[in-house]
């Protein structure tokens, strides 16, 4: 049995799984407002009420998974606010 071919036979199932996850998200997005987008805006609004930051210094990373999606928000907050935050 050609081992190499066995390992490689897996590409169609990989494609199927990727499409299932992706299309589930895209169909969802078509019907409703973008939940992750709303979360992003609201998180940024809350933080900006307490700490000033530049919009360009916000990095948002997203990973839409099958059962779990991850939203990562990185914001560079200028120093000198440690006391304000600790207080």
């Amino acid at each position: 049995m050609n081992l190499f071919k066995l390992l490689r036979r897996g590409s169609a199932p990989v494609a199927r799984e990727r499409l299932q996850i992706l299309l589930a998200h895209e169909r969802n997005a078509r019907g409703q407002p973008d939940l992750l987008g709303i979360l992003r805006e609201e998180i940024l609004a809350v933080i900006s009420r307490h700490v000033p930051f530049e919009p360009e210094k916000v990095q948002i990373k997203l990973d839409r998974g099958k059962s779990v999606s991850t939203l990562e928000v990185d914001i560079e907050i200028p120093n000198g606010l440690g006391t304000a935050l600790a207080g």
Partner: protein, 271 residues
């Protein structure tokens, strides 16, 4: 000096997106900083072929309309740190692209990257003309098949009239990339030969990519074919094409019917 390339064809389904990803990865592998830009607004594909479909947050339209800054929209490839993707929008359409918006984005990308590869949509309308507008050079992807060849001819005509370079009286460098070449069919006269295509299109040849299951496999798993199986025939042809883009002179290999190295070895072991 940054180079803006457009990968275009006129005809759909000939291998533009596959080639954009393969060439982008090949150039990035070689150490250059590369960004691939998807101009197919509303029907994005480049993210899928690169396996980044789950990570798209902002896209080209968002950047044009000021909703996001360019660095926020760029997605870095997880395998090659020099390769970035600027995805297209999936919900808008080509009318959301503006001339000035695209010009500004390309200008900003020129400052950060060595290669900006614009993946054009099929057709000759707004998305396609905007993708070619700022190109220094064009890769015209053609299948050895009559409608693909005629559409490529049309596109070559447009490259000489609709681009900023043409309007300034300069020439857009043109390269022909023949894809889905099937040596058996060509030998039996069932497929246009390389010479036929070259004679009709009168454009320098960048490479000949053989028809191969590797392309489908790579797209299934979301990896450019040059990364998924770098030793396969199409990958090697793409690597050669990337080197030619950088000015190297490499003899052109016409794919033949004989099987590739790996297949040959395993073929014998199995028997």
């Amino acid at each position: 000096m940054a180079q803006v390339l457009v990968v275009t064809s006129g005809k759909g389904g000939v291998g533009k997106t596959t080639s954009t990803a393969a060439l982008g990865a090949a150039l990035a592998r070689g150490g250059d900083k590369v960004v691939v830009v998807d101009f197919d607004v509303g029907l994005r594909n480049l993210d899928l072929v690169l396996g980044a479909e789950r990570r798209v947050v902002f896209d080209l339209i968002n950047v044009i309309h000021g909703v996001a800054k360019l660095p926020q929209a760029l997605i870095r490839d997880k395998r090659l740190e020099n390769l970035f993707l600027l995805p297209a929008s999936q919900t808008r359409d080509k009318d959301a692209l503006t001339d000035d918006g695209v010009a500004n984005v390309i200008a900003e990308l020129r400052r950060k990257f060595d290669w900006i590869i614009c993946d054009s949509p099929a057709g000759i309308e707004r998305g396609a003309t905007l993708a070619m507008r700022h190109a220094d050079a064009a890769i015209i992807v053609t299948n050895p098949e009559v409608s693909s060849v005629r559409d490529s001819d049309r596109i070559i005509g447009l490259l000489d009239s609709k681009t900023a370079k043409a309007e300034r009286g300069e020439r857009v460098e043109k390269h022909l990339l023949i894809t889905r070449y099937h040596p058996g069919r060509a030998a039996r006269g069932e497929m246009l030969s390389i010479d036929d295509v070259l004679e009709i299109l009168s454009t320098p040849l960048l490479g000949i990519i053989p028809e191969s299951e590797e392309v489908l496999r790579a797209s299934n798993v979301g990896t450019p074919v040059t990364l998924n199986n770098a030793l396969s025939a199409p990958a090697r042809a793409y690597f050669d094409a990337a080197r030619r883009l950088k000015g190297e002179e490499i003899p052109m290999l016409v794919p033949s019917e004989s099987r590739g190295i790996f297949n040959k070895l395993f073929g014998r072991k199995a028997a």
